[in-house]
Amino acid sequence: MKLYSKYLIVFIAVFSFSMIMPYFYSLMFVKNTDKDFIYYSEIIDDFAIRTYNADRNNIYKDKAGNIYSEHEFKQILPQVYARDLSLNNKYTEIINNKIVSAEDMIKYNFYLSTTADKIDEENIRIKLIPIFESQSGSASLSMPVDLARIGENITFINARTNKVDTEKSKLFTSELLNNGFVFPVKIFGSNPDVRKSFDAGIFLLDSNNQLFNLKMIESKPVVEKYKADFNNEEIALISIKENQYANFYGFVISKAGNIYLINRNSTVNKFLIEDYNPYKDGLRININPLHTLINVTKETEQTSYLFYNNQLIKSYTLEIIPTLSGARLYFYNVLFPFSIYGNIYTAAEYLKVEITTNIPASLIFIIILIIIYFIICRYFKSISKTTIIDMAVIALSGIYGFTALLLLQNYKKDTLWE
């Protein structure tokens, strides 16, 4: 039991060290990597990139490799710098045979984004949301006194009394049922922020994968069924962000990585992306009067997809320099055979264990550690029958077990350690 108790401490230490050591290593050796931005320039008909050099100064270039000054860069991207250009009277309204005023370029330029964490956040969020008075007539909406529980039906709970408003609940539930909604709700999305001039309501996916919109107008429910064919795809996220100038409300992301824009006219537009994993990648969508650009950011690369009228025209992939790279990354993979960190959101990986990407080098390092440990034991004359077990522990846990066992060594050879 005394032996087991020692290895119990080693196990605990290995667990601790596998979280702490990689973290501190990264803290010490991580390099700042500013984000690169990929745009599409209608003027040069190519992708334009804003990146950084080692001194953290901006570099402006295009896909072909041409370098631009900041001023030139702004001029080739009127959809991004419309405000700046128009302030300096540099804005040109005719862009690639399209006429777009600066005012329109600013007004009809929309950014939507999401990350893997946000998708998980949405999924685990408590299913109570406000349903605002859709057309309040004011610059911002007022918080209703109740929140709606979305699930087997719609249930309104008055927050002031903490009691169910059965009448209102029945009214809204019936209206949905009358419009063909089949409970329970699979997934829903809304924008629960009062800082907007109108509310798009909530978008609900019923059991038959049909998309519905539920609004509240003058305290009455208004339901609209969407012409949306998701092909029995499982939906990961419905994200809504109202904008008075946009002709869409938000987007839907399927688990398979397809993106659907939710239009105001009860339809959806599908954007076919080759390689997007909503549970791992970041997504950024820019819809402007010239085109739609969708950026998918992975761990080691960023890809931009250009769409005209929902058709994919071209794409461009840019490598991302990780925060740990080169020799620092190499030594990270050699030193740490695995690292543990918690990810509280995702259903699939609640406790992430990352294995080194350089297994051969890591194994060689482990062998070296075993030899060093043996030498230390010999030097301090502490070789015993447990030394073999210690070496096996180091073989399995690398530097973590090595450190733990060194800390548990009896250097002074007193009998405290038997």
Partner: protein, 223 residues
């Protein structure tokens, strides 16, 4: 119940009765404080806005209970085992005519039950106070959050008791280095989290709970 468990518990209870009272007072005071704090918040703001804030930001409006819980666990671990460490009083228990592994287990089990008691007390307290102001959708998520605090408290208790009981200051320091890193390993800050995470945390807390055997057996055999 083991044959001598009752007797060991009796000893621990006598040893710790003032600490248990202090722990009860601390946790009750924090519960009362939380109740009034929440009540004030609800009175001064639109309740639906508070609800939404909690939902959108995973608001743990009873976070002071977590602090009280951890302080209780730390206090319990130190005060339960300091008298054993002081003057090597642990030897008295080692010579009792009871299997020493059981003796060590029962001694720690007492601490476990106290922490479990705090857990149940705090869970009931927070759920009851939350039920006054929030719907079931919110307060039914509270037990899982407090369960994580319970597991973390167990780890803190085991850490404190192991370090306190260890007879050698040199080894105490080494144990701190070996074991401290796990103290905040299973921090939970969102509602409705993956239950498998709780299961992993539970397994780890159980493993950690037995860490006391290391200093206890060294005490028994080594000094």
């Amino acid at each position: 119940m083991g044959k001598y468990m009752k007797s060991i518990f009796y000893k621990e209870f006598i040893k710790l009765n003032r600490i248990l009272l202090a722990v009860f007072i601390i946790n009750t005071a924090v519960l009362i404080y939380t109740f009034f704090r929440v009540r004030l918040g609800i009175m001064m703001n639109e309740p639906s806005g508070i609800w939404l804030d909690i939902i959108l930001k995973n608001g743990i409006f009873y976070s002071k209970v977590e602090t009280a819980f951890y302080i209780s666990a730390l206090l319990l671990g130190v005060m339960q085992f300091y008298p054993e460490f002081e003057r090597k009083r642990f030897r008295l228990a080692c010579h009792l005519p009871i299997n020493e592994y059981k003796m060590i287990f029962y001694t720690s089990l007492f601490g476990f039950f106290v922490i479990a008691g705090i857990w149940i007390y705090n869970t009931l307290g927070v759920v009851l106070l939350a039920a006054q102001f929030f719907p079931a959708d919110i307060y039914k998520e509270i037990p899982l959050i407090i369960f994580y605090w319970f597991l973390n408290s167990l780890i803190i208790y085991s850490f404190a008791s192991s370090i306190t009981l260890e007879a050698s200051w040199n080894v105490k320091l080494r144990l701190v280095l070996l074991m401290a890193g796990s103290l905040g390993a299973f921090k939970m800050t969102v509602y409705n989290s993956n239950i498998l995470y709780a299961f992993t945390a539970l397994i780890f807390a159980i493993i950690y709970f037995f860490a006391i055997y290391f200093p206890a057996l060294r005490f028994r055999k080594g000094l």
